[in-house]
Amino acid sequence: MHNTWLYILIMAGVSFLIRVLPMTLLRKPIKSRFLRSFLFYVPYITLSVMTFPAIMQTGDSVIPGLIALVLGIGMAWAGCGLFPVAIGCCAVVLVAQLIL
């Protein structure tokens, strides 16, 4: 059995080290183009793989999540901000669950 507090300690501890080590030790910009490119792409990729297919596990079927995915991409593409996109996704999942 895992201890939730130990998980939280690791979560916070690793996050702290990542943030603080370069600030205190490196003090120089990263020169490697590969490393800079790698770090540039990581956020987009990690958010992508965390969003899909996990979004489809929202309700009892994959349909509400799939509709939310399409709506979310559409709204974000159309220039809607963080909050409107999130509300839109919530609303469409609520409605889809009631109808289906």
Binding site: I18, V20, R27, R36, T51
Partner: protein, 243 residues
């Protein structure tokens, strides 16, 4: 307190308010997820509060909560946080260039500890050397709403009916989409990489052996492999310290 420090602190506090409002909403949906839909491994409101107060990272915490809910290993937790938060390494390097060379160690640690996408952005936008008090101010008015939002989200996840929790739980994905889609719209390479990531993340569930990975490990492997491939195929040009 010196007048210039007080000034910087107040400016930081003010600039942190809109950040805090946004954080509250994101943290709330993160809390809904952390509650785990009534599963025994879900976090308590207090655990969520502490986790958010000291981790301060949306993608990182989502990935971390996923490991907790799926009872992953501690190593998996450390790796998933490293991957999901490794952009902070880059920001920390950038920030180190923008503080006084004489800045004391305690302030280097203090400023570094509060790096988030938004706090970094407002700090780096300061002219000249960034006063540590500015960063502390921005953190003061935004990190507490972040922690409280998580706590309230977990409470909501525990008491609201399942159909509403399902609906609210999708908010975090909506926010992720709102972060990745606008740059994907502007940059064909990012668009391609996002779509490829979706496809591979979906396909890997059906590939023998690979499909047996836990979700946390899957996130780590996919992120590292695709990012490395993208960095080799499409190296970014020039300075990207604000990325």
């Amino acid at each position: 307190m010196k007048a210039e420090n007080k000034n910087a602190l107040l400016r930081g506090l003010r600039d942190g308010v809109p950040i805090g409002a946004g954080y509250f909403a994101v943290a709330f949906s993160l809390g809904i997820y952390a509650a785990g839909g009534g599963s025994a491994s879900g976090l308590s409101p207090f655990q969520g509060f502490v986790a958010s107060l000291f981790t301060i990272a949306s993608a990182g915490e989502y990935a971390g909560f996923k490991v907790i809910l799926n009872a992953g290993t501690y190593i998996e937790m450390a790796l998933v946080i490293l991957v999901a938060n490794c952009r902070y390494l880059l920001m920390s390097c950038a920030l180190s260039q923008r503080v006084s060379p004489d800045l004391r160690m305690v302030h280097r640690i203090g400023m570094g500890a509060f790096i988030t996408d938004e706090i970094f952005a407002v700090s780096i936008a300061q002219k000249g050397y960034i006063p540590p008090c500015y960063t502390y101010g921005a953190a003061l008015s935004s990190v507490l709403p972040w922690a409280i939002g998580t706590m309230l989200g977990i409470i909501a996840g525990e008491i609201l009916p399942g159909i509403v929790v399902n609906a609210l739980s999708v908010a975090i994905y909506g926010m992720f989409l709102a972060i990745i889609i606008p740059p994907a719209k502007k940059d064909r390479i990012i668009l391609g990489i996002v779509l490829f990531s979706f496809a591979l993340s979906f396909a890997i569930q059906y590939i023998p052996y690979l499909k047996d990975m836990t979700e946390g490990i899957r996130i780590i492997v996919l992120t590292v492999v695709i990012s490395a491939a993208a960095a080799l195929l499409f190296p970014v040009k020039g300075e990207t310290e604000n990325a």
